[in-house]
Amino acid sequence: MLPFSIEIRPGLPIAEQVLFAVKKAVVMGQLRTGDKFPSVRVLSQELRINPNTAHKVVAQLVEEGVLVTTPAVGSVVAAPALGDRRARAELLGPELERAIVEAKKLGLTVEDVQAAVAAHWRKLSDNSKP
């Protein structure tokens, strides 16, 4: 099993989808600093994706500082780059857009949505690091 949630959908490049899922897992606390990250081989087999794609994903994550590779252990999740909060917030763009569209359809206001977000935030704070 992979230590992060992902559901690959047709249409978008696979590498982008996996990158997004991993970064989201880091932001949401599913993956924490020091956690072992699956090897290219495991990633490719578990997701049934091309090993070249899996390799590209890992290389990109290392380059972006999300993962660090250590010779004996393989890849582990790096400490989050704190100066990069805006970049991390941008990861939520598509998710937020979906939620906002749904909210508008339901006739909710910004305040309703903010309250709902805050409530969910508190609920999850118990399970993940602040």
Binding site: P10, G11, L12, P13, I14, V40, Q45, N50, P51, N52
Partner: protein, 305 residues
Amino acid sequence: MNAIETTGLTCRFRQLEAVHSLDLTVPAGSVYALLGPNGAGKSTTIKMLMNLLRPTGGTARVLGTNSLQLSPAEFARIGYVAETIDLPEWMSVRQFLDYCRPFYKKWDRELEKTLLAKFDLPPARKIKHLSRGMRMKTLLLSVLAYRPDLLVLDEPFSGLDPVVRDDFIRGVLEVSSLGDWTVFVSSHDIEEVERLADWVGLIDGGRLKLAERLDSLQQRFRRIEVTRANGSTPPTQRPAHWLGWEDAGSLTRFIETQYKPDETEKLCAEIFPGANVTAQPLPLREIYLSLARGNTAPQPVAALR
């Protein structure tokens, strides 16, 4: 280096030209999917590559060797799986593997054992008593066990149930290593291909219509939806690279085949002044369909009275 390279490859059966002057390049290390409808020439192409069929024109090089001169030394580096391959029906799975093993120096007994267990194959059962899925898995096992440099799969997923198909893909990925390991697969199963392939070739009527990296293909195709400004009529002038045009009410929908965010936006602003425009990425299935249909719009549904 290229794992497969053909120039002007042609195959004619009397009146019928099954494959017409095919120029195909499969880079080493890629997973290359050849897509096309039934009768497009996919199997014929693969048979020529495997020297099972003599081209009537052009040449093919496989792992650097002319296909007509492929020797056992090259075939020991190629794994070929197709439903049409004859298996010795009277042998058991175990006997069949025992029979294959001595032909390959690189045969990996550990891998053979692993795959036998993973594929859930009954070693003592005779091949003639295997189901279709089991036959395909047996065949796949017999080629994966020697870790070929080039894996050629002709319609491997057709008629396999989801569990067997999953086993099959796991098996293929089991021996995958980065670098020069190449897979050439012909298939109908676009969803599976979309996950695995990094190159896509589209063949129709024996001709190669398109050969492109999957990621660049996904970059340049978008479904554009335009909500036109109040009261405006759909424009009659449209660029040739916009396919599958449809209008309904104040909505216009088409497929942009040369998508670049800035340029597409500018073009849309010129053609649809004051409209609201959205661009959605397309699954490979839709890209395939839009190319197969070309510029003919889907048949309009007769208006209800």
